[in-house]
Structure formats: structure tokens, C-alpha cells
Symmetry: C2
Subunit: 135 residues, 2 copies
């Protein structure tokens, strides 16, 4: 068993998973990332305007699901969850590629086009590497 | 607190983190992914030759680190971990983009160029989406 502690939370006007687009590029709103003060030092080199990967814990997901209809469309054939981006999966970790739009304080950052709902725990932030290979 | 259960483990000839390249594209070997039978159904639509993202738990990482010398080079200035791909970070989740080279059984898959060491827990497998935006 592995234990994680969130490093922060998403603050968004998306309140329910049903309101969220499937991907950030499909009309998701801006969101604030509120980080815990204890990890603030690790954020100091994030730069305005750059893209980062945000890893989240999709805490409303069903972790017992192994087959899904892609995009929740019951007319599509069932697929194994590991060939889909479904939130429902054994370890529901979300990966979101977003651009930093504002750095208000050392632990409060606004990003564009984030499809995660309000209150979603943040697990990690990583740089987007230039080479496709390394993403 | 969030708890994860590994869905499998990496089997590799890389035995120590010191032996592993920093990125899979820098000379990492093939590796076997051995999944637990309970989640096998979720793997059924993975296709030979395609690229996938493997999420791992970097269980040898130091979780108290917030500043690092990039690429472990002490001559580089210290950077906040969230602007680096350092394994040492509060929630050390690795993201590896690899190609599926062999599907031996429903739960035993060989991939190319994986920099994770032998025994590394696997947390998730996700498809690589076509649009860069969504990776």
C-alpha cells in the first residue's frame, strides 16, 4: 500500500464531474491551484506563461471499474480502462497539461483550461519537456 | 491521506537508480511489465506497437526534498522540484512514454526504453492522445 498526501487543491467553478469536459482543450475554465505552504519552496521556479503537467487525484472516481464505454457513450463498445482516459480506474490519477496564467502568491497559481472539478487534490506538478518522447 | 495499490511491477535489468538514465530516450533497456491478475481485464485493448504512458511509484525517492540540482549535477543552481523531473519530490510519481513491443500474456507486456528500475510499482497505464495538448 502506498500513501500520498495532497500538495494542494483545485479551486474551480466546475463543481460536479458531470459539468467537466473530458479534456481541458474542450472548453474547460481557468482554475486556481492552491498549494499547501509546506511545499511552497518547491514551486519557486515555475514561470508565468509556461506549460506544466498537473497530476491530480480524481477522488470521485469508481476504482472498481476495468471496462468502460469511452466518453460515457453507451453506444461505443466497452474498452479496457487502460486504453482510455476514463477517470474510473483502479488508481485514478489525472494528468492535465495547462498553461500558467497568473502567479498571485508563492502558493496560489492560476492556470488555463483545467477540466478538474473544485476540491480535486493535487499530487504533483512537472515541467513539460520539449521532446515529445519525454512527455 | 490517499492510498494506492500497485497494479503491477516493472521487471528490468536496471537494478539500482544510479544505473538508470534520466529519461527513457537516453539509452534505457526494454523491460517487462508484470500486472496483477485482478486488473487483467482492463489491459485487454492495449495494442502491440502503440505508445502508452506508464505511471509508476518511484519508491526509492526522497519525499522530503523541495530543491534539487537538476540532473544531480552539483554545479547547476538549485531549482524547485516542481520545475524538474527529479524523482525526489513529495509524491514521486513517474510518467514514462514507452512503446509496446510484446504482449506475452494478458498480464505480461514488454515495452521499449523504460528507465524505471526492477521492482518499481506500476500505478496506471494510459493511452497517448494524438493531440499534444492532451498529453
Amino acid at each position: 500500500m502506498i500513501t500520498l498526501t495532497p500538495i494542494g487543491y483545485v479551486r474551480s467553478r466546475l463543481l460536479e464531474p458531470a459539468d467537466a469536459p473530458k479534456q481541458g482543450s474542450e472548453g474547460a475554465p481557468d482554475a486556481w491551484l492552491e498549494f499547501t505552504p509546506a511545499i511552497g519552496l518547491g514551486l519557486r521556479d515555475l514561470a508565468l506563461g509556461t506549460e506544466v503537467l498537473i497530476l491530480t487525484w480524481l477522488d470521485r472516481a469508481d476504482r472498481d471499474v476495468l471496462l468502460v464505454h469511452p466518453r460515457d457513450d453507451p453506444s461505443t463498445p466497452l474498452r479496457g480502462v487502460f486504453s482510455t482516459r476514463s477517470a474510473d480506474r483502479p488508481n485514478p490519477i489525472g494528468i492535465h497539461r495547462v498553461r500558467i496564467a497568473e502567479i498571485a502568491t508563492a502558493t496560489r497559481i492560476r492556470v488555463l483550461d483545467l477540466e478538474a472539478v473544485d476540491g480535486t487534490p493535487i499530487l504533483d506538478v512537472k515541467p513539460v519537456l520539449d521532446r515529445i518522447k519525454d512527455q
